[in-house]
Structure formats: C-alpha cells, structure tokens
C-alpha cells in the first residue's frame, strides 16, 4: 500500500484495479460490437458497394482511357498542358513498373475518402463558424483526431467492423477530415465583415448570405483545406493497408517486413506522384475559380 512514500512516487492504481478497468471497458465494447456490429456494417454497405464499384470501374477501364480521362480532367481544372503531360508520364511509369492495379485501388479509396470528408467536413465547418460555442466544442475533438496515433483508433474500428475496406476508409477519414473542417471554419470567419454587412443591409436571409457571400468568399481557404485533406488521406494509405486496405500501401508494408528496399521505394514514389498530381490539379482549380482575386492589383 502506498501510504507514506507518495511524496517520492506518484500515487498509482493497483495493478489489479487497472486490469479490472481495462477488462470492463474492453468487454463492454466487445459486447457492443458483437451486438451491433452487423447493423453498423449494414449501415456502411452502400459506401462499400460504391467503393467496390468505383475500384472495379477503374480497373476494368483500359489503361490508356484512364490516363486520357485523368489527363483531360487535369487539363480542364488547370488549363495547363504541362500538368497534363506530367499526369500522362507518371501514370504510364506507374503502370510500367507493375503498380497499376494498386495505384487504381489507392486512387479510388482516396477519391471516396476525400468526397466523404468534404460532405461531412464542410457542413461541420459551417456550423463551427456560426457559433463560438460550437467552435470551442469541436476544436478539441479535432485536436484529438489529428494527434491521436492512427493505430489507436484503428483498434476499435477493427473490433467493430473487422478487417477490410470500410474500416480503412473510416480510419482515413478520421485522420484526414480535420483540415477541411478547420479551414472551412476559418475561411467563413475571415470573410470581410463589410461585405457581409452589405448583404445583410440588402435583406439577404442567412441562407442567401451563406451561399451567396460566405462560401464563395471562403472558397480559397476551403480549397486549401480540401487540398490538405487529400494529402493526409494519401499519407494514411500505408497505415490503412495494415487493416487490409488494398492499394499501394500493401507492397510498402510487405517491403518493410521483408526488407525489399526497391519495392518499397517504387511504391512510395508512386504515392508521391499521386499526391503531387492531386495537389497541383486541385490548387490550379482553386486558383482558376478565384479569378477575381488574380486581377486585384490596383486600389
């Protein structure tokens, strides 16, 4: 018993007590997941089928068509033939070094995760911008999501949903969603008060203000958030591969366990290539939608 030496040693729970706490929590969660796991899984079914369908679509499409479509999208978004050429070359190299299928899996999961992060994150960000109370409530949650080691929240997700794509997607979203929430909030809060006041003075309703003034003016900041989200999702694919998410992360994981340096490097580079393409295309797109800012050169 720790009765006299608490000055030198920190008071501690008994080992048995600690074990009991852990046991109770673990059992409770296990019971919960046994009872509700299937229901929750069923809830995510549509997402899973969409993910599978999208992955199959990418894999079933001839490689040259995929490259053409991606390069075309890149051109539409950025109006830069250099970027499109970069897309063609890097995709071709990815295929040439035998990573085509993994790259397509990764791309599908990244796109789905980003989409989900935007669908969930932007409204949460708007909510945060609306009320200071919401902001003080959500900010610490975001801090936890960003700093908690990914492995830690992989555990309950895997316990609940097993190993597979869905837990992977959830883990990636948890990891990648904070930037889009934070920057949506920030972007809306930074909107020029004068402009907002003018809109109010002309009788704009809260919805008209949000859609007509706040969101459009916050767009550069929100786009920066989305960009960050994409980057974080990409960096998460390796960790997600530990719970059975197919894609470029798998070979990387294999290389770590078997010490295949070249295999690891190639797949790592493929991830980097995807990241750079996503980054440049989304940034170029954001810049082009803000053409009114580009010409703000005199007062």
């Amino acid at each position: 018993m720790a009765e006299s030496n608490w000055l030198t040693e920190i008071p501690q729970l008994e080992r048995s007590e600690l074990r009991d706490i852990r046991k109770t929590l673990d059992t409770a969660y296990r019971d919960f997941s046994r009872e509700h796991g299937e229901m929750i899984e069923a809830f995510f079914d549509p997402l899973l089928s969409f993910l599978v369908w999208f992955e199959k679509l990418l894999l079933a499409t001839p490689w040259w068509l995929v490259i053409a479509v991606v390069a075309g999208l890149a051109y539409l978004a950025s109006r830069s033939w250099k970027l499109s050429l970069g897309v063609v070359v890097s995709f071709f190299l990815i295929g040439y070094f035998g990573m085509w299928e993994d790259a397509m899996s990764t791309m599908s999961i990244i796109l789905v995760c980003t989409l989900m992060a935007i669908i969930l994150g932007v409204p949460i960000g708007i909510l945060m911008a609306r009320s200071d109370r919401m902001q003080t409530l959500i900010t610490p949650v975001l801090d936890v999501m960003q700093t908690m080691p990914a492995f830690v929240y992989l555990i309950p997700v895997v316990m609940l949903l097993g190993i597979g794509k869905i837990p992977g997607v959830i883990a990636v979203i948890i990891y990648a969603i904070p930037p889009v929430i934070r920057l949506t909030n920030l972007g809306i809060r930074l909107v020029d008060k004068d402009v907002l006041e003018a809109a109010t003075a002309y009788g704009a309703s809260p919805m008209q203000r949000l859609l007509g003034v706040q969101l459009p003016l916050a767009m550069p900041t929100i786009m920066a958030g989305i960009n960050q989200t994409i980057m974080m999702a990409l960096s998460m694919v390796v960790i997600a591969s530990m719970i059975g998410v197919a894609g470029l992360g798998q070979p990387v994981l294999k290389s770590i366990t078997n010490q295949y340096f070249t295999l690891g490097l190639l797949n790592g580079l493929a991830i980097v290539a995807l990241a750079i393409i996503f980054d440049r295309v989304s940034q170029a797109y954001a810049k082009r939608t803000q053409r009114h800012l580009g010409c703000a050169d005199h007062g």
Binding site: A198, A199, T200, Y202, G203, M219, L293, H298
Partner: protein, 411 residues
C-alpha cells in the same frame, strides 16, 4: 405639416454585455466617461430625436466616435437600439419579425457604404443586380435593370469587370447604382464619399445632387466633412458624443451655431462655397421708378446714393450711376432713361453661391442687384456684406437676414 417619413424618438444605445441593466445610469445623466468607468459599457447614442421628411437629403454629421455610423445602422436595424422608437412610414421598425425585417430591408431602404461593401467575386453588373436578386427578381430582368443603372452612374462598359479592377470612385459608383437599383425609397449613405480623393468626391457629390433632382429619394447621408454636409444637406444634424447638438438647415447652422463645438466646426468652413447670395443679401432699396433722367437723379438724391436700380412693372431693368446720368442730363435735360445709360453689369441670382459672385462684387463700386427668376429685384449684395460674412472676424448675428429686416424697418 405632413407626418415625417422617418421618425426617431428617444433613441439610446449602450454597448456592452448587459446594457439594459445600466440604462438607469444613462437616464441619471451620467456622462459617457463616467458610465464607461463604472460599468465597462460604452454609451453610443443618447436621446436621439429626429424626424426626416420624404424627399430630403438629411445629413448626419460628426467626427469619428460621435456615433454617426452607429446611428445610421439603426435605421435598418443592422444595430438594435437599447431603448427608443424608430418609425418608418408609421411602422415601428423595432416590432418587425425576422422575415418582416428582411422584407423591409429589401424594399424600403438601400445602403451605400464607406468601404463600398461590394461582392468581390461577382462582376460589376451582378453587384448592381444584387439587391434585386435577393428580392427574388429573375436573373435576366435583374441584370437588365442593373445595366440601366450602371449607365446612369456613368459606368457603361464596365459590366463584366470585377470590383477590384475599378478605382475607388468607380467602385463607389457601383455601390450607388446597387443602392438605386432596388428602387427603395430611402437611401442610407454611410460616409459614402469619405474614402475618395477630393476631386472624385466632389464629382460624386455633383452626381448625387443631379440624381436627387430626378429621383427625389429620401437620403440619409453620414459624413464627417462639414463642407460636404453643407453642400448636400437640406437639413443637417450635428452629432457629438452620441448626442445631437444642433439640427437645422445649413445656413442656420452656419450663421447661428448653437454651441461652441459647432462654432469650432463652422469656423473652418469655406463660407464662400457654402452660402448662397440669398442668405446674405440685403433687402432691396434704392429703387428708381422714374422714366426720365431728371426724375431718376431726383430719386437718387432722395436716398442719398450715387447709384440706383431702375425698376418698372416688368421688374428689374438695369443699374444706373449718378455720374453718368449727370453727363447725360447736361447734354439733354428732358431725355428719357434709355438702355444706353445702364451700367455694364450682370445682376446676380439669389441661388448663386457666394464664391461665384465675389469678383463682380469687388469690381463694382456699388452693390450688385440680386434678381430672381421672375426678373424682380430681390435684394442687393454689397462688398461690405461679403467682407462681413466671409471675414474671419465674422459675428453670426451680422449676417442674419431677419435682424437686418428689423433694423431697417425701425430705421
């Protein structure tokens, strides 16, 4: 007298976390500083009473911190008062619900802002159409009406530009067009021209005056510039530390400042530009009604002056000087008065700004006749009056036309 369009009664605004609680201090007559020290609340507006008539330009003027921008935001309730009533066309704005308030802002009032408040992501044309779009007017119609207003303010051809591509003056024209485009009866202008450089500012003032002649809006104009206030205002209210220290017509404020504070303001005003001939001229005298030279000389001797104004039933005819008449009299003792004997001098108009008549007044060695639109002699403008009104040692009483009348009547 008709009911005023906008009526503000006993309006108070206390800024802080719990203004209602501390209103008693305000009513006790504690000063702004005392209240701030005791409660950490800032007194924004204190017992404001205004009535603004339809079709006038009502200027609220004060230095920064006087509460003028706070006051104008009360009219469309961008800021809610702590106490008081604001009535527009008889409806109490304070009683409006959320939806009603939106409708009120859409249709009754529009606003022009000091820093323009244009939507940077929309084109100039879309900005002008913004109020209509908010009202729910179809896009094509809104844009078409916006195009007309853009033309009216002289910005045709800039439709597809973004606000950031325009100069400050042009941006404010867009702001003005946006405000006019909604057809709201009341126009709130919050230091609308203050951010512009002087030349552009006076250009915009001219434009506003021209537009107002056509449109007859009710304009509430906020400014810190007394010259601007005098130039635009039909009536002016001067605000200091959240209180109205004087309200009245420009001449009244210029010639009879109510407090030292107002007088300090007025001292720096360019009176020559602010006052019209009408407000300072002397009542007409020295009328000559005779048709012969001898008769005229006779009358001139009667009022002991060496000049006179020839007046007939048709009104003012011309000005004559004794010396010239004497010469003509020597040549022909029975001659009638003819145009040839009149002095080469243009009479001045009552509405003319003093500045424009200074040279003629100084050149002439007799007072200039003031002739109104009907051709009648309305008064005369002497060098002495000008010197008195424009001089730095000006005493407010000296230029008072009423008192002049009194002294003359008794004389």
């Amino acid at each position: 007298m008709a009911e005023a369009l906008i009526q503000v009664e006993n309006l108070y605004k206390l800024f802080g976390s719990n203004p209602k609680k501390h209103m008693s201090l305000v009513h006790e007559g504690k000063s702004k500083d005392e209240i701030l020290a005791a409660t950490d609340h800032t007194l924004g507006l204190k017992n404001i009473n205004l009535s603004i008539n339809a079709g006038e330009i009502f200027v609220i003027m004060g230095l920064s911190g006087s509460g003028k921008s706070t006051l104008i935001r009360h009219f469309n309730r961008l800021i809610d008062p702590t106490e008081g009533v604001i009535k527009v066309e008889g409806t109490d704005v304070m009683q409006l619900g959320k939806k009603e308030l939106e409708e009120f802002r859409r249709h009754k009032m529009s606003m022009v802002f000091q820093r323009f408040g244009l939507l940077p992501h929309k084109t100039v044309l879309e900005n002008v159409a913004y109020g209509l779009r908010i009202q729910g007017v179809a896009k094509s119609e809104a844009l078409q009406r916006a195009r007309q207003w853009l033309e009216t303010v002289g910005l045709a051809g800039y439709e597809e530009q973004f606000p950031a591509q325009l100069s400050g003056g042009q941006q404010q024209r867009v702001g003005l067009a946006r405000a006019l485009c909604t057809d709201a009866e009341i126009l709130l202008m919050d230091e609308a021209f203050s951010a512009l450089d002087p030349l552009i500012r006076s250009e915009m003032q001219d434009q506003l005056v021209q537009l107002q002649e056509k449109l007859h809006k009710t304009i509430i104009f906020i400014t810190h510039d007394l010259d601007e206030a005098l130039r635009l205002g039909d009536r002016i209210a001067i605000l200091k530390d959240g209180e109205v220290v004087q309200q009245g017509e420009p001449e009244e404020i210029l010639l009879h400042p109510a407090t030292d504070y107002v007088e300090a303001f007025v001292r720096d005003v360019n009176r020559a530009r602010a006052l019209t001939v009408e407000t300072v001229m002397k009542d007409p005298a020295y009328r000559i009604t005779a048709d012969t030279i001898s008769g005229a000389l006779q009358q001139m001797k009667g009022f002991d002056r060496d000049y006179g104004y020839i007046v007939t039933d048709e009104g003012y005819q011309g000005t004559v000087k004794a010396a010239k008449l004497e010469q003509a009299y020597q040549a022909d003792k029975d001659a009638d008065l003819t145009d040839a004997l009149y002095e080469q001098i243009e009479p001045v108009e009552p509405q003319a700004v003093l500045e424009t008549v200074i040279p003629n007044t100084l050149d002439a060695d007799y007072p200039l006749p003031v002739v109104d639109e009907q051709g009648q002699l309305a008064g005369c403008l002497t060098r002495g009056t000008l010197a008195e009104v424009l001089g730095s040692e000006h005493k407010p009483e000296a230029g008072n036309p009423k008192e002049d009348k009194d002294t003359k009547a008794s004389a």
